[in-house]
């Protein structure tokens, strides 16, 4: 009996049910508290559209977080890639916009990966240093002025453009995780780098690939972000730091639900839950500081309920 229960508790369906229960719980709570301002179908559609932008970044971050790495330069790259994409779009239209964002994003990933591999210092330190450099670079590239996306190039600003692009990103993530060696090797490196190396895995190469993939997805996120907001302003002084955390929350969901073999679904639903919580507080009229406290708290509760180690196990 207990074996069957154990098996059930490790199944994909169980993971899915957990996610749905959490989703319904938070939706239910806010719907009861503010029935008029929150949770109509059109509201939900709007929450979904904002959350999928972060989900795309969350998918990218998944590649490096499972390897035990971290990246603080995600926000800086969103800004830099958006600015590069918008500038190129003025000359080459959609092609310049899309390739500018994706190319700049991936190139930044390559630079981070190479530096991380060669400097041999923790990823957190490398990316904090690079975040400062990329922020300054963005100011330089933007010429100190706000960059606005041409109104004719805003296909990705709303449905169906944003849904299509994000959907393609999720499919790509699914393909990479399930149909290439990259997903397996990233997990293997995260589990035990030394053993992975002994299995013939080129750890440096796959860490580089991990960073490049992350920032390719950041490039997609840049397309969606600047399309949604229509403008992008480059700022220095670690102002991009806050942009790192929203996608990271989805990644935490993905890592927590990896055991159910459904990281992408968990990232998407997880970001949607965070969005529901955030918008629920907006509907309640709570100040932003309270919203942040409760959003952060909810994340801790959710992840500790789903990903908490066994009693006595060491968690770092």
């Amino acid at each position: 009996m207990s074996k069957t229960l154990e098996k059930l508790k490790s199944s994909r369906s169980y993971g899915l049910i957990l996610l749905l229960v959490m989703l319904l719980f938070f939706y239910g709570v806010f719907k009861i508290l503010t029935p008029g301002n929150f949770g109509s179908l059109s509201n939900l559609y709007s929450y979904l559209q904002s959350s999928i932008i972060y989900s795309v970044g969350g998918c990218g971050l998944y590649f490096i977080v499972v390897m035990g790495l971290f990246d603080f330069a995600v926000g800086a790259n969103i800004v830099l890639s958006s600015i590069v994409g918008v500038i190129l779009s003025k000359h080459f239209g959609y092609l310049g916009f899309v390739l500018g964002c994706l190319g700049c994003g991936t190139l930044i990933g390559f630079v981070i990966g190479m530096l991380y591999n060669n400097l041999n210092v923790p990823s957190m330190i490398v990316t904090v240093g690079l975040m400062l450099i990329f922020e300054s670079l963005a100011v330089f590239v933007a010429g100190g002025v706000k960059q606005t996306l041409d109104p004719e190039l805003r296909f990705f600003s709303g449905a169906p453009g944003n849904i299509i692009l994000a959907g393609l990103a999720f499919l790509l993530m699914y393909f990479i995780l399930n149909y290439t060696k990259i997903g397996t090797y990233c997990n293997a490196i995260g589990s035990n780098e030394f053993t992975a190396k002994n299995m013939g895995i080129n750890v440096r190469k796959y860490k580089l690939i991990g960073f490049m993939l992350l920032h390719f997805f950041v490039g997609i996120m840049a397309i969606l972000t600047v399309s949604y907001g229509t403008t992008m302003t480059a700022l220095t002084g670690m102002s991009t730091m806050s942009r790192n955390f929203q996608p990271l929350m989805g990644t935490f969901f993905g890592v927590a639900f990896r055991k159910y073999k459904m990281p992408i679904t968990a990232i998407i639903v997880g970001e949607f839950i965070i969005s529901i919580i955030f918008n629920g507080f907006v509907a309640l009229g709570a100040p932003t500081t309270i919203q942040n406290v409760v959003t952060g708290g909810a994340l801790l509760v959710i992840v500790s309920l789903t990903a908490r180690g066994a009693k006595g196990s060491v968690v770092k």
């Binding site: 997990n187 013939g200 055991k259 073999k261």
Partner: protein, 499 residues
């Protein structure tokens, strides 16, 4: 049948810093042979075999397999040359499925234009698991859902499904139950019958003699001899390993000594959910109290429970003065020491120096006005490590560089340095060679004479019979039998209470 040389090791050499781990070892191994490779901890047997398998680079000399010189840089390249290894530690990776673990580094047959066919991989993985008789393990499941032994079985499949010319089995049997061992022996026999070769590394000399054709002995990194298993006894092997006679003073020889009436520790109705139930006993001054049983009988949890390292423990553990042991801090403060069976994960801090490992629980005692003197710490650690005859370059050496036996000496040095009066030693000689074993037994006997009390948890029945004043046998989480030290007591008596 004509013998064919499969592997030639010519002047294989390896140094780690100033340690000469393998010193110009030359040997040959035939096809269709099971070769035992034995030696004390630090004799170089694991280093030698790990060079063969690409885990370590070769310091000097050459390996030739079927006449071809080997230049392998990792396990996958070794696999491609026909060499596989099952390692002592956990060799599977969390976060991957069972099938992904089996085929890690060998995904090519399942890749089509860079796209992985996970379904085919799972199907093939399951076919192999079923073929090996491990059908209860599902290829598509995450490996994290399985226990240590099942994960070892997955490693066995991983290492052998490609039919390697040479399979190295490095101290694997200690992780397996009797059934798992029997499965492994069957696989070894099948490899031999197929004209391929096994290199079998184990400290269990009885097992080595029973399941090998020949045995190579290494000592201090040097090649000593290769002998026919059928011509040898365990004592012969011990003599070759150590370089002198060792049999006579292995265990205690005294019998009939009364156990003191003075109770130093009382354990009453201690239970840990799913592990042990209502365990009660008393430990006396100067007593070695043995705990025996099958691997999952709960005896290992008893050690943790006494040290207050168990979760959700109920019942009481009390010292003679009435102090209740309800936390690890209280246990240490009141002179209780604990050495875990899982030495690397629970007893030593691998990436720390010998000095810091030894001084850890004694830091407060060594501090003066809250300040620590590096010189004092070093002198303290050096004294106790030296007393234990730890094989080291200095106390600044990292524990990760030490052999299993020397790691255990560091653990014991730590608690002896702390002056602990009650020592809970779980599997104190697990994976340890005969010479260090002998030293640990001598130390235990000496501590006993000093009036210290020892709880020795052991899966080795001869060790229990040879060292304990009293033996408690556990079965299914409860105490199922008690025996007093007696020369007439036999292994069968204990086994009858275990199963």
């Amino acid at each position: 049948m004509e013998k064919r040389t499969l592997l030639v090791a010519d002047s294989i050499d390896k140094r780690f810093g100033i340690t000469h781990a393998v010193d110009n070892v030359s040997l040959t191994i035939d096809a269709g042979e099971i070769r035992g490779l034995i030696g004390e901890n630090g004799s170089g047997k694991s280093t030698f075999s790990q060079m063969l398998c690409g885990i370590y680079s070769i310091g000097g000399g050459t390996f030739r397999l079927d006449g071809k010189e080997l230049h392998v840089r990792n396990q996958v390249e070794a696999n491609n040359e026909g060499i596989a290894i099952i390692v002592q530690e956990m060799g599977t990776l969390s976060g991957l499925t069972v099938a992904e673990n089996i085929f890690l580094g060998h995904e090519e047959p399942f890749m089509h234009f860079g796209v992985k066919d996970a379904r085919a991989m799972n199907k093939e993985g399951q076919r192999l698991l079923d073929e090996y008789g491990f059908g209860h393990i599902k290829a598509a499941d995450m490996i994290d859902h399985y226990n240590f032994e099942d994960r070892k079985l997955v490693e066995i499949v991983k290492a052998t499904y490609m039919k390697p010319k040479i399979l190295v089995i490095d101290e694997t049997t200690t992780a397996l139950s009797q059934n798992g061992r029997l499965e492994l022996y069957k696989i070894m026999d099948a490899i031999r019958a197929d004209g391929r070769t096994v290199i079998f590394i184990s400290h269990d000399l009885g097992e080595v003699l029973s399941h090998t054709d020949t045995v190579t002995v290494l000592r201090d990194g040097e090649y000593i001899d290769t002998v026919r298993s059928a011509d040898m006894t365990e004592d012969d092997l011990k003599r070759l390993m150590v370089g002198r006679e060792i049999g006579s003073a292995y265990y205690r020889t005294d019998y009939g000594e009364p156990i003191s009436d003075e109770v130093v520790l009382t354990v009453e109705n201690v239970s840990v959910p799913h592990e042990i139930s209502n365990v009660s006993f008393q430990l006396h001054r100067g007593e070695i109290l043995g705990f025996g049983g099958l691997s999952e009988c709960g005896m290992h949890e008893v050690g943790k429970a006494i040290f207050a390292a168990s979760w959700d423990r109920t019942g009481t553990v009390k010292l003679a003065d009435g102090t209740e042991i309800d936390s690890i801090t209280t246990a240490i403060r009141h002179s209780i020491a604990y050495a875990s069976k899982d030495r690397d994960n629970e007893s030593v801090i691998l990436n720390e120096s010998i000095r810091n490992n030894i001084v850890l629980p004694s830091i407060d005692d060594l501090a003066s006005h809250g300040l620590l003197s590096g010189r004092k710490l070093t002198a303290f650690a050096d004294k106790h490590a030296t007393d234990m005859q730890t094989k080291m370059q200095s106390v600044n050496q990292f524990v990760s560089d030490l052999s299993g036996g020397n790691k255990q000496k560091v653990v014991l040095a730590r608690w002896i340095g702390k002056g602990s009066n009650i020592l809970v030693l779980d599997s104190p000689t697990r994976g340890i060679d005969v010479r260090v074993k002998q030293a640990i037994y001598a130390l235990m006997a000496d501590l006993r004479k000093q009036g210290k009390s020892i709880i020795m948890i052991s899966e080795e029945i001869p060790e229990l019979l040879g060292m304990a004043d009293r033996i408690l046998i556990m079965k299914d989480g409860v105490i199922n039998g008690e025996f007093r030290r007696d020369p007439a007591l036999s292994e069968e008596d204990l086994i009858a209470k275990m199963v």
